[in-house]
Amino acid sequence: MTRTPETVQKPKDDERAILRRAAEGDEQAVRQLYRAHAGKLHRHAARILGPSDPDVEDVVQQAFIAALDGAQRFDGRSSVQTWLFGIVTRRALDAARSRWRRQRFSRLAEFVGFGGGPTAPADHRYQAGSEAERLLGVLPPLLRAVFVLHDVEGYTFAEISGLTEVSISTLHSRLLAARKRLDEALAGDSDA
């Protein structure tokens, strides 16, 4: 699978220059950087967390601030968009984990029969407008992230490993598991 073409349309030097100016405090450059990438990054965060998830906006905002903060660490080996995708992915997974941690006591309470119930939504609950997005919701965030990055966005395992700091073999097994779950769920859907 090949990378989406738009990442190579912009010369890398321009992107880096905008990023550098933004990091130095040039407000126009901050806006330019945001406008160039906000849509894709928001969609990506929403695919990992769920489009109606209240953390999506926070994740994107924090990712931008973190990118500006760490602009000097951007080495230019990838496009700015790829780099931003990595930050958003890590933060979205952080948010999902953090929620999981926050809800562990209510899950335990529910498990032992004290309260809980349907009020506490599952960590990986995923609400989506489109059918495709809805189907994506059968996956937990970790599998969703690798499926979206590899099969939808077209990143290679090596790139995803760089973005998420997860080993290639783990990514590979997660992708297989994601595909298997989707195949089963979609087959079930069509049988129904």
Binding site: A22, A23, G39, A66, L108, E133, L182
Partner: protein, 432 residues
């Protein structure tokens, strides 16, 4: 299991293809809101000059054997130990940059919401009907209505808030106890947080009340006295007894009033709450002596200009001269609202100088000038509040609140008046 024909794409591939084609355009409202927040946060931080909060220290993921061992131990030790093991083994992914900015969200009764990021030194005011939720590194701060909080220090190992007035509820759960500190300062005390849930309230004098619902806090009176540890279920009040504190409180109340922030409540709703930067803290922000002289020299000016000039004189501490001019305005043929405003300023000037009896007279005169005017009702409420807070005459305060309710039963301050009556022991007013 269903067999998949090798010529047709697998369902997962079809899904990936559908998702690739999905545009999913970002909603304009969300786009603009996020852009505003990002630019504001970046601007407030001075392009990385200010450290962000909650930079999680990267931890190494535990080895597989450690993970297996922890799972085995948890299974053997039962549910509680399992929770503990789960907590301690959870790896945080290595994150190369800060991951949380202090963020606030203001919610007003009618559902309006304002949100943004907070910089060090910034002041948040909740307003009469507002409620602010602040997300900080390892803590959460809920700012109650009619409260004012300044964020003195926001760093990864120290959070320091100054509660100017009002009430805050705090939940603080540091990731590394002993390395992360949080404190709330009021005029009377400093509340050092160990890792807990508690609330702090401070009135206009700085009288401070601390109540702990979980964990332990240390309360250090600022004017001497032994620090005391408060445990869950305990409550403590630290009075701002020193005259200096009282004078300072009154002075600040006047400054707010003069700056147009009006701590003396107005019948016209004044919810406008915003995150107000530091300017409100200083007298200098409100104009120079030269401007005041210039303004006061022109007696032919419009009433609002003359009132403004008197305000500036008060800001310079020239209470006598200011009151003299305000008296002239109060006795002139100006519109009722302006005359009442002049008398209210006189009352606050006397309050600032500790002359409560004279302040009471000035408020009474304001009520007399406009007995059926909303401005007069405001003056009556301000009188009641003065009596409640500055004198021991609870019955007089109660009578003034009742008079206010009689004159303005549906006034904007009526709920507060009933609340005050309840506070003063009038059971019939409680729960209305």
């Amino acid at each position: 299991m269903r067999r998949v024909d090798s010529d047709t794409p697998r369902p997962a591939e079809q899904l990936a293809s559908a998702l690739r084609g999905a545009e999913g355009e970002l909603d304009d409202f969300v786009r603009v809101r996020m852009e505003r927040n990002i630019v504001a946060a970046w601007r407030a931080r001075g392009a990385a000059a200010v450290p962000l909060l909650n930079v999680r220290k990267a931890r190494r993921s535990p080895s597989r054997s450690a993970w297996v061992a922890s799972v085995a131990v948890s299974a053997a030790a039962g549910v509680l130990l399992g929770i503990y093991a789960w907590r301690s083994r959870e790896p945080l992914p290595s994150v190369s940059a800060p991951d949380l900015v202090a963020h606030f969200e203001l919610v007003i009764d009618d559902g309006a919401v304002q949100s943004g990021y907070i910089a060090e030194g910034q002041v948040l005011e909740s307003g009469k009907h507002g409620h602010i939720e602040v997300g900080l590194a390892q803590s959460r701060v809920d700012i109650s209505p009619e409260s004012r909080v300044r964020f003195e220090r926001l760093s990864r190992d120290e959070l320091r808030l100054a509660l100017v007035t009002g009430r805050v509820e705090v939940a603080f759960h540091p990731e590394h106890k002993g390395q992360e500190h949080m404190s709330i300062e009021t005029r009377a005390a400093r509340v050092m947080v160990v890792g807990t849930r508690f609330d702090v309230s401070a009135d206009a004098f700085g009288n401070t009340s601390v109540s702990v619902s979980e964990g332990v806090v240390q309360v250090v009176p600022r004017r001497g006295g032994q620090p005391r540890f408060l445990r869950a279920g305990e409550r403590m009040t630290v009075p701002a007894e020193a005259q200096g504190d009282k004078a300072q409180a009154v002075r600040e109340a006047i400054e707010q009033r003069l700056a147009g922030k009006s701590p003396a409540p107005a019948e016209e709703p004044s919810d406008a709450v915003v995150d107000a930067p530091q300017a409100s803290d200083g007298l200098s922000a409100l104009g120079s002596e030269h401007e005041a002289k210039h303004l006061t020299g022109l007696d032919e000016q419009a009433p609002e200009r003359r009132l403004e000039a008197a305000r500036k004189l008060l800001l310079q501490g020239k209470h006598g001269l200011a009151r003299e001019r305000l008296q002239k305005l109060a006795k002139s043929s100006l519109p009722t609202g302006d005359r009442v405003e002049a008398l209210m300023l006189i009352a606050e000037s006397f309050t600032a100088q500790g002359q409560i009896a004279r302040a009471t007279d000035a408020y009474r005169e304001a009520v007399h000038v406009a007995p059926r005017h909303p401005a007069g009702h405001n003056a009556l409420f301000a009188l009641a509040r003065l009596l409640e807070r500055y004198t021991d005459d609870r019955s007089a305060a109660g009578a003034a609140y009742r008079e206010y309710l009689q004159k303005a039963p549906s006034g904007a301050l009526a709920p507060q008046a009933r609340e005050a009556l309840c506070r003063l022991g009038d059971a019939a007013s409680c729960g209305e």
